[in-house]
């Protein structure tokens, strides 16, 4: 059975679980929405909010990602399914790729909702010229985030203290994504005088990041989930 086929099986399984349980829709999206609202309380200035909106979108994405990663591995450890996957002799690279794909889809949903929230709450507008950059940024950033999240989520799964270990490992690792994605979105939206062409070098960074962690993650995942 090819690695790719099993990865798709695993991804489909994860999305099926999400569809059945609706944790993303009922819990994570409201959480993301709430973060966007409380940012406004903390920052207390329309001008500031408008200026930093792209950054806030990605901050909220980071926090939501931590929740999503915990969830995606909780379903594996709740009833020993990850052990069962290991016993089934499933190639860990397939598990990694599958879970990363499932995570990426859920992250994309969160990001789109957060963008909409920014448009409404922080008065952002998306100029037609920036749409391509925006979409490319979302996709490349999400791939990188999903890879890192799956890797460290797999490591932390099943250990006590995983709720704190996961952010400690993940957040420094995704700093480049936070930097790059925010700048690229600023360029796409024209925040603070940025132009669309400013954004493409950042997309380059995001793509390299995604590839590096995609490859590195699939190699590292097996040894990390093994006892």
């Amino acid at each position: 059975m090819s690695v790719w086929r099993i990865a798709r099986l695993v991804a489909r399984k994860d999305l099926q679980i999400e569809w059945n349980s609706r944790v993303l829709i009922n819990q994570v999206l409201p959480f993301a929405g709430v973060t966007m609202v409380i940012f406004a309380f903390a920052l207390d200035s329309d001008a500031v909010l408008e200026r930093v909106a792209p950054g806030l979108v990605w901050l909220a994405t980071m926090f939501s990602m931590l929740v999503l990663v915990q969830r995606t591995f909780a379903i594996e450890t709740d009833d020993g399914a990850l052990d069962a996957l290991r016993v089934a002799g499933v190639d860990p690279r397939a598990i990694f790729a599958g879970k990363a794909m499932g995570l990426a889809v859920q992250l994309l949903v969160v990001e789109v909702v957060l963008l909409l929230a920014a448009i409404v709450l922080y008065r952002q507008t998306v100029p037609a010229g920036g749409v391509v950059l925006l979409v490319t940024t979302l996709i490349s950033a999400t791939c990188g985030l999903a890879a890192v999240g799956t890797l460290y989520g797999g490591l932390a799964a099943g250990f006590r203290g995983r709720e704190t270990l996961l952010p400690l490992l993940t957040l420094p690792a995704v700093a480049p994504v936070l930097i790059g994605a925010t700048r690229a979105v600023e360029a796409a939206l024209g925040t603070a005088g940025a132009v669309v062409s400013d954004g493409w070098p950042w997309v380059g960074l995001l793509v390299v990041f995604a590839v590096a962690f995609g490859v590195g993650g699939s190699l590292a995942f097996g040894p990390l989930i093994d006892e």
């Binding site: 890797l151 490591l155 250990f159 270990l165 400690l168 490992l169 957040l171 420094p172 690792a173 700093a175 480049p176 930097i179 790059g180 700048r183 070098p201 950042w202 960074l205 390299v208 990041f209 590096a212 962690f213 590195g216 590292a220 040894p223 990390l224 093994d226 006892e227």
Partner: protein, 281 residues
């Protein structure tokens, strides 16, 4: 320590540590380090001149630069040792201990770099911190290796720890260039905004450069001395863990023997009698 214990330990750690982690090697390095440090103090505080712009504050650089240099050296060592552990057939735990010791020392040196740097910043420019490329990367480096050290402390056998840490150690080395690239690109956007340019090459004359060189040598020797001691310290800790396992094994086996002896007098199949679910006729 008895002969058998000493032999067991020698097998395990390569030497007997009845006297602590020092050896002739560490003593030699230790003395060289002291000498180098004395030179550093002499040149750094005495012979080298004050800087044209920064005045006496430039002397902090003779510590600040070597510490970050040593930090990078230690993290590269961690990465190499991690690779050696993963990709050599024997999977010797010595590599894992070297990786761990080096990372611990490296993390301390990064912390020192940040603190000393903050002091220097305060004195020279009036601010403890500045979001420039170098400082930001250093801060992220620090947190990344705190994460590595946290992974080392996860529960498991020594081999499990070694494999997990080795993988994370190599991934950390992957993260560093990405962080560096993104942060540099980021801060280059703010060139005009920076009040003070830390990338500007401090004009150093011959004596100042020499002092810096002495600093680098002194701190590298210090690093070597610390790594040797810490690696041996970790070997001793691992040895104690194994001894603990040996004792636990003895205790458990004794428990088993006692249990069997207690129930040997029962008429039917012995241990079944304690379970209470069978129905003997």
């Amino acid at each position: 320590m008895t002969t058998t214990e000493s032999n067991l330990q020698r097998e395990h750690t390569g030497r007997s540590t009845a006297g602590g982690t020092g050896t002739r090697g560490t003593r030699v390095i230790g003395i060289l380090t002291l000498i180098a440090m004395v030179w550093l103090v002499a040149f750094g505080l005495g012979f080298s001149p004050a800087d044209r712009d920064q005045d006496e504050a430039v002397r902090i650089l003779y510590v600040h630069v070597p510490t970050i240099w040593v930090a990078y050296l230690s993290f590269i060592t961690t990465a190499i040792a991690s690779g050696m552990y993963l990709f050599t057939k024997k999977k010797s735990l010595g590599w894992d201990r070297l990786a761990g010791a080096s990372a611990e020392i490296g993390t301390v040196f990064v912390a020192v770099t940040l603190i000393v740097g903050a002091l220097w910043g305060r004195i020279t420019w009036g601010v403890f911190w500045q979001w420039d490329a170098r400082l930001t990367t250093t801060a992220l480096l620090f947190v990344t290796y705190i994460g590595y050290l946290a992974v080392r402390r996860l529960e498991g056998t020594h081999q499990q720890r070694a494999r997990r840490s080795a993988v994370i150690g190599l991934i950390a080395v992957l993260e560093i260039p990405l962080v560096h690239w993104s942060v540099r690109l980021w801060r280059s956007l703010h060139q005009e905004a920076t009040v003070l340019d830390t990338d500007r090459n401090t004009d150093m004359d011959g004596l100042m450069l020499f002092s810096l060189f002495v600093g680098v040598v002194a701190f590298t020797l210090l690093y070597l001395w610390l790594v040797m001691h810490r690696t041996r310290g970790m070997a001793m800790e691992d040895y104690l863990d194994d001894r603990g396992l040996d004792e636990a094994l003895v205790a458990r086996r004794a428990e088993g023997d006692a249990f069997v002896a207690d129930h040997a007098t029962m008429p039917t199949a012995a241990p079944a009698a304690t379970l209470g679910t069978e129905e003997t006729t």
